[in-house]
């Protein structure tokens, strides 16, 4: 939902980043206000997943230029865990499996870390159990997920639902969902999208990083950005995603070339 009066949550200016000395992000500008849903689309290798990881603080990437302000603070002053506690959430494309740690134990640990950060009381296992079971209903998750090891032997769809469950528990200000739609069948896509829609409100923002338009049938974006070679080359409304689906990513490149030619 676009509201001119809502406040700026994230302000990205001229962001450049490299991995192993190879430049992946070449000057990204992006402004995210509360209440908004942004889709970042692009081909494989366009840099969209890198942008997601850089914002979450992945240490493989080196920031070589630009600034990112998060609620008026320099995001790069914060370690990944501090960003998480401050309200940045990254939904992983490939959630990590942790055999040996029960999902409920992990979820409670993450939840209570956030509680402490916000000067709220930690929940004991019983209190937490009530809360998490309620949240799981939203995602139509079977309660036996709680006793299984984190993501171990979960199907693709189960892993993504578990990511959104974490998002619902941590209640972030900005959720960056990296290829959350990949590996989902249509039922799982509907459930996960429904979960994301329920969690979106006027005070938070969502960034959907995706290759395909199909998730945007369920989660309607306010803005669609197209990335190519480490830059945002086109920004538009939800219609842009439909045009991309119809014409392919080449269309943006051709259009751009044509514009330059004219």
């Amino acid at each position: 939902m676009i509201d001119q009066d809502s406040k700026i949550l994230l302000e990205v200016r001229g962001l450049c980043a490299t991995v192993n000395n190879s430049e992946i992000l070449k000057g990204i500008d992006l402004t995210i206000k509360s209440g908004e849903i942004h889709a970042i689309m692009g081909t494989n290798g366009s840099g969209k997943s890198t942008l997601a990881k850089v914002l979450a603080g992945h240490t493989d990437y080196e920031i070589t230029g630009g600034t990112v302000d998060f609620e008026g603070k320099n995001l790069f002053d914060l370690a990944p865990e501090e960003r998480a506690r401050a309200g940045i959430f990254l939904g992983f494309q490939y959630p990590i499996e942790i055999p040996g740690v029960a999902n409920n134990q992990f979820l409670r640990l993450a939840f209570n870390t956030a509680q402490v950060q916000q000067n709220k009381d930690e929940l004991d296992p019983l209190e937490f159990d009530d809360l998490v079971r309620e949240k799981m209903k939203l995602l139509e998750m079977n309660p036996d997920f709680l006793d299984r090891s984190v993501n171990e032997n979960f199907s693709g769809g189960e892993k993504k639902r578990n990511e959104i469950l974490q998002m619902s528990l941590l209640d972030p200000k900005i959720a960056i969902l990296d290829e959350t739609d990949s590996g989902l069948d249509i039922d799982a896509l509907r459930i996960v999208s429904n979960g994301v829609n329920q969690l979106a409100n006027k005070d938070n923002a969502t960034i959907l990083v995706t290759h395909y338009q199909r998730m945007l049938n369920y989660i309607v974006p306010d803005y669609v950005h197209v990335m190519e070679s480490g830059r945002i080359v086109k920004t538009g409304g939800k219609q842009l995603a439909l045009d991309l689906e119809k014409h392919g990513y080449d269309w943006v490149t051709i259009e751009k070339t044509a514009a330059v030619g004219a």
Binding site: G57, E81, I96, I98, G100, T113, S149, Q166, L170
Partner: protein, 437 residues
Amino acid sequence: MSVGTDSKSLKGMLKGQSQLPISPLERINQLRSNAVNQVNALNLPTKHDEEWRFTDISPLTKISFQSAREASPLKDSDVEHFYLTEAVTRLVFIDGVYAPHLSTQIAEPFKKSGVVVSNLAAASSEDLAAIESHLGSHTELQDNIFAALNTSFLHEGALIIVPQNISVEAPIHLLFIATQKEVSSHPRCLLIAESNSRVTVIEDYVTLREETYITNAVTEFVLADSAHVNHVRIQRDSKEAFHIANCSVSLAQNSNYQSVSIAFGARISRYNLSVLLKGEGAECAADGLALISNRQLADTHACIDHIKPHCTSHQLHKCIIDDAAHAVFNGKIIVRPDAQLTNSTQSNRNLLLTSKARIDTKPQLEIFADDVKCAHGATIGQLDNEEIFYLKSRGLSEVTARDLLTYAFGAEVIERIPVASLKLRLEQVVHKQTQRD
């Protein structure tokens, strides 16, 4: 020269052997005298022996060990913290000596149906035939000075017999408690699981004092057709102690052996596990965890031998090595020419927590059949950066993330223990040992 000193020292450990009472069982007397000859003929292995390449056992020779004559006068209250709620039947040995007043009998209905859980030295005449045919039959003494030394002292021990079609639900706890300095004990276990029987056995080595002593155990498990045995082995000896153990398992047709072996204790430990899949369709899982620190050395040698077709074996052995500790894993899978359609996996995963920690690992496959599915491998490393980032992205600190992942690394094995209270206790040990903050 050093060899002479070494072997002399082990011969020194035979002191007191001649004072053992003569057994009414001729088999036992024979085994003993044969074993004494072996001990006298063998030298202590050195790092020049392939089987002991990475494990220097010579510190053993610096101490003169003696066997305990009688059990320390311990009361339940001294040791009940080792007891397990689920295990109503328990045999307790103190410094190798059977402690009847701390042990508990198998429940009457089981006793009536022929289940035996007793001290080997007090075996009743009905069980002699079974003992005759199995005791010592599954353990090779040739080239195994420690098994020979144990057999030289063959006297007391744990005897478990589960008759055909009997299922013993509650686990049986074999508790070996060390209490004295410079004592050598030679625990012995024999389990005979008759066809289609079912039982869970916990072999548990604990200590009341952080002293130097040696535990030198021999365990034999015999599974008849379709028998199902869970074997949990916990080695939590003193961190100054020596722990040597030989376990031989024989599996008949369609039998199933599930084992989890945990090593927390001992200055130097060596566990030899030998599983023989002798009947078609036999299954075995042999998982292990060594969690060691300071200057501990934990060595596991496993040999899983597929003799017949359609057998399955899975082994996951993990080591968490802290400080300057040293773990050794040697896992050999043999698939004999007859053993077609074998399905075997073996994985050894090691987590080194410091730059001084060390692992020597050698997974070996020897396959002589052509239609088999075998996979094996070893990994050595530190914690995975992607895993750490995942946890940090959920707000966990670096230290918490590392602790959690280290804990999880060990918990994956502990989780497979089918005894809830034991599992919980061991999880707490792992938790405590993997916390940095």
